[in-house]
């Protein structure tokens, strides 16, 4: 009887893990499909779109995930097929230095001006 109790607990725990893992995988799937652009739509992600292209791509993402590819590898895979513009999260490479750094630069500039305003004052 004691063993039965342990078996039941083990079963429940493993089930919990399983559903948690499932949920995690769906979350990851959603994250990836939200980051892929639907190429035949005008401004929608694969996640949002219900077009044929998007539906096929969703199936493919699921397949690749089950094959064990990592998120990064999946992005590389699609980038290879369709070019960089299928990714909504712009990569950080020589094309996009200004894209990512210019706002930060502006922020620091603003901060510097404010800083100067008050430090000079104090002196």
């Amino acid at each position: 009887m004691k063993y039965l109790k342990y078996i039941i607990i083990l079963f429940l725990v493993s089930n919990m893990n399983l559903s948690f893992a499932d949920e995690q995988e769906i979350k990851l799937q959603n994250k990836i499909t939200k980051n892929l652009r639907c190429l035949i739509c005008q401004g929608q992600s694969i996640y949002d779109s219900d077009s044929q292209f998007a539906i096929s791509l969703k199936i493919l993402v699921e397949k690749k995930l089950s094959e064990g590819l990592s998120e990064k590898e999946i992005y590389e895979y699609f980038e290879n097929k369709y070019g960089e513009w299928i990714l909504y999260d712009p990569k950080f490479n020589k094309n996009t230095y200004f894209l990512w750094l210019l706002p930060i630069l502006m922020f620091l500039l603003g901060g510097a001006i404010l800083f100067k305003l008050f430090i000079i004052k104090k002196n």
Binding site: G43, Q44, W85, Y88, T96, F107, G110
Partner: protein
Amino acid sequence: MASLIGLYSLFFGLFSSFLIIFFSIKNLRNFLNFDSKILSLTFLQFFFVVVSFLGLIISFINSDFSNETVYNHSHSTKPLFYKISGTWGNHEGSLLLWLLVLTLFLFLFLLKSKEQNKKYRILTLFFQQIIIIGFFIFLLKTSNPFSYIFPTPAEGLGLNPILQDPALAIHPPILYLGYVGSSIIFSSTLAAATLNKINKEWATHIKKWVLLSWIFLTLGILLGSIWAYYELGWGGFWFWDPVENVSLMPWLALTTLLHCLLVLEKRFLLTSWVVILSISTFTLSMCGTFLVRSGILNSVHTFANDPERGLFILIFLFSLIFLSLFIFFFFHKFENKNMNQLFWLSKETSILVNNWFMMYFLTVVLIGTVYPIFLEVISSEKISVGPPFYHKLIIPFLIPFLFMMAIGPKLKWIKSDLLIKKRLIVLFLISFLLSLLLVINLNIDILINSILLTFAFYLFFISLRDFFIKKKLSLSQNFAHFGFSLLILSILFNNILSKEIITNLKVGEIYKSEKFEINFKNIGQAEKKNFKEIIGKFYIKDSEGNIEILNPGLRIYNQPNIVTSEADIKVNLFEDKFITMNYVPNQDYFNIRYQIKPFMIWIWFSVLLITFGGIISVFKKKYEN
């Protein structure tokens, strides 16, 4: 006939501009008071544009297909309401709407500024007329809404069914009242800068116009999001699409301007900020018009993809920019930067910090939107800039921003003492503990979201408490800030708690998961005026056994030949149940997407609260007077 009257009315309207300018110059030169003829002429001009606009509406109602615009965008089987709203749902008609708002605001401004200096009023009129004439020429030369086609086609090409929706019908007029309304702020600021009139009294005078424009712009953006949510079927309400960004940017500039005016009203500070922001708001509006009408960007709702029109707007826009730069550098007298005027712990400083953050957010949105264009021109590489970019750059900065929103209003003008009030700390602790509780219970695994939650709650509690305790309270500011905290909280919860199921179902099939059961009961058909609809009936059972019936549809329109998916959404106070049904080619099953979206109503409501704050501010002055 209506089109003909409409066309002639446009010419008369343009001609009025020259009359107006003539009499204005005359009035400027003589020493008499403001010539009331000028006011009448601006009303006349507005009247001509109204007649023209009505001419277009009547052409649409009558389905007069000899009018090219009506032919391109309407159809005789369209319901009357959408025939009318189709007037401004296209490029030419929307430009006519631009003219309508431009001339209306000029007239109203002159009407309501009788106590102001004559020179100032006339100069404002000049600058506004430059914009108005520019648009008249743009309209008549490249985007004539009254273009005649012969022979008259028997039927029109129809309006895209996605645009046949009540929210989208009123979204442009409301948005334009904000967007285009900022033109008068632009013109009057340039006038004031030229006359060196940027001071406290002027700030009070211009503030109501800024508020008016801001209120409509906020509502317009809200309506656009609501439309996207209900109509586009993906359950989202903001996608950082270029057209959305293009309405957000003027809003950011306008909000910052509003805060700067609050400072200028009390003290002679931030005058340069005020001038730059006024110019920027309208410039961004026009820049937005350029981006979505020239075909240079690729987005969900770009209007006309016509490079010729794009070129005109581009030149017009940059002419205005160079004009503004000239006036700013030539005329504007930078206030004496007496350093002793700004103490570091004061309300003025907190508003300066606010400016800093808002300008940063504006930069992020601006760069994100136009960078792909620049990159493509310079290096022929094509990239996409989507939500992940904006989220990464904006969300972390929201955290200190929310903190400043909570603390800033508490600081005094000129100088505040460093007495750290106990309640500020207590409320922070409460926010922190509450967030911790939620993080643990809801399995929130993203750190940033958890911290954001804490600070959003902080602003929430502080502003909530202020409603009940504070005596000398600025109601408008409190509503607005409280609304903002509620917005962030609603969006966070919506994001964290949303659930979704996508599956393929045949009629009669049931999908079972541990939390839901979706039963595809049956299918029905309906014939409407301009479409045929297939309606699915779905019984959704949740884990507690409650059943909800949802009826998504597929609409097959006849003209144009498009199939749209109509979501069925059951709204209640705590969550929306959202279902869409999609056609799968050549198969006998449908693709079903069921989503649970918590707190959607709260998102809309919080924006209304923010707007309400602005409305209170408009009427507060009236009440005090």
